[in-house]
């Protein structure tokens, strides 16, 4: 019996180690697969009470609106982030549903106004004027009557206070 056990012991230990290693690895694989499949299934059921076509459109609208709103929350440092945010939102625009286009344009205009304000503070009048012009063009297209420098500065200060609690 002792001899038999001595013969089997190394392979028993090896198997025991394999089980110890395999259990968490398989649990992780199972967890990821289970979570992904469940999430995909739940997402496919989102807005399902509105009918197939409507739910598809609203899912798209919701995903884009969420990405768009989130991009504002995730801003951390002023100037570079605003520029990055404009690029991100500009990329988002063609893929977004048409209803969101004016909202995206307004946000881009607001971000240009903020950059113009920041450039103005860092004594860079040429860049400030360029961004101000871009903001004014977008606001004009949205039907804004007053797009004066004062209004843009006020808007930019409000944005900066709200986002960075200055």
């Amino acid at each position: 019996m002792g001899r038999e056990w001595a013969k089997v012991r190394p392979s028993f230990l090896l198997s025991f180690l394999a089980v110890l290693l395999l259990l968490p690895v398989c649990a992780y694989v199972g967890y990821s697969a289970g979570a992904k499949i469940t999430y995909a299934y739940q997402r496919s059921k989102s807005f399902s009470s509105l009918g197939r076509q409507n739910s598809k459109e609203l899912r798209h609208l919701g995903e884009t609106a969420y990405a768009f709103e989130l991009s504002q929350v995730l801003l951390r440092s002023p100037e570079a982030s605003f520029q990055q945010n404009i690029s991100f939102v500009q990329e988002l625009r063609p893929k977004a549903p048409h209803e969101l286009w004016p909202i995206i344009d307004l946000r881009i205009a607001q971000d240009h106004a903020v950059i113009a304000r920041l450039e103005q503070h860092s004594n860079n009048p040429a860049e400030a004027a360029r961004h101000r012009q871009l903001a004014q063009d977008l606001l004009h297209s949205l039907g804004w009557g007053d797009v004066s420098e004062n209004l843009l500065n006020e808007m930019a200060d409000r944005q900066l206070r709200a986002r960075f609690k200055r």
Partner: protein, 100 residues
């Protein structure tokens, strides 16, 4: 490696997959409802903010268009089945309370 050991390893793999899969499903089952809720909030917030801004600054035609857009989007959201959020945990019962 004996046959018993092979079977032991196979059982360990199956148990790992089953336990992990079950936990993944259990922890994610409310996430779809929560995502839907966050999207509804994002949609209504984006359109309301826009309508307010347009109402303050734009000409009448553009302001009217923005408010009508907001109304049409909110009307599309109105028939959402609030019951789908009950028990999802994400809305903390707000959806159900809203029906009272």
């Amino acid at each position: 490696m004996t046959r018993a050991m092979k079977v032991g390893i196979a059982i360990a793999a199956l148990v790992g997959l089953a336990v992990g899969g079950g936990e993944g499903i259990y922890q994610t089952r409310w996430l779809g409802g929560a995502t839907e809720l966050v999207e509804v909030i994002s949609i209504s917030s984006a359109f309301s903010d826009f309508a307010v801004q347009q109402f303050k600054h734009a000409d009448t035609a553009h302001a009217r268009e923005a408010v009508l857009l907001q109304i049409s989007v909110l009307q599309r959201l109105e028939p959402i089945d609030h019951d789908s959020h009950i028990g999802c945990g994400a809305c903390m019962g707000i959806c159900a309370a809203g029906d009272d």
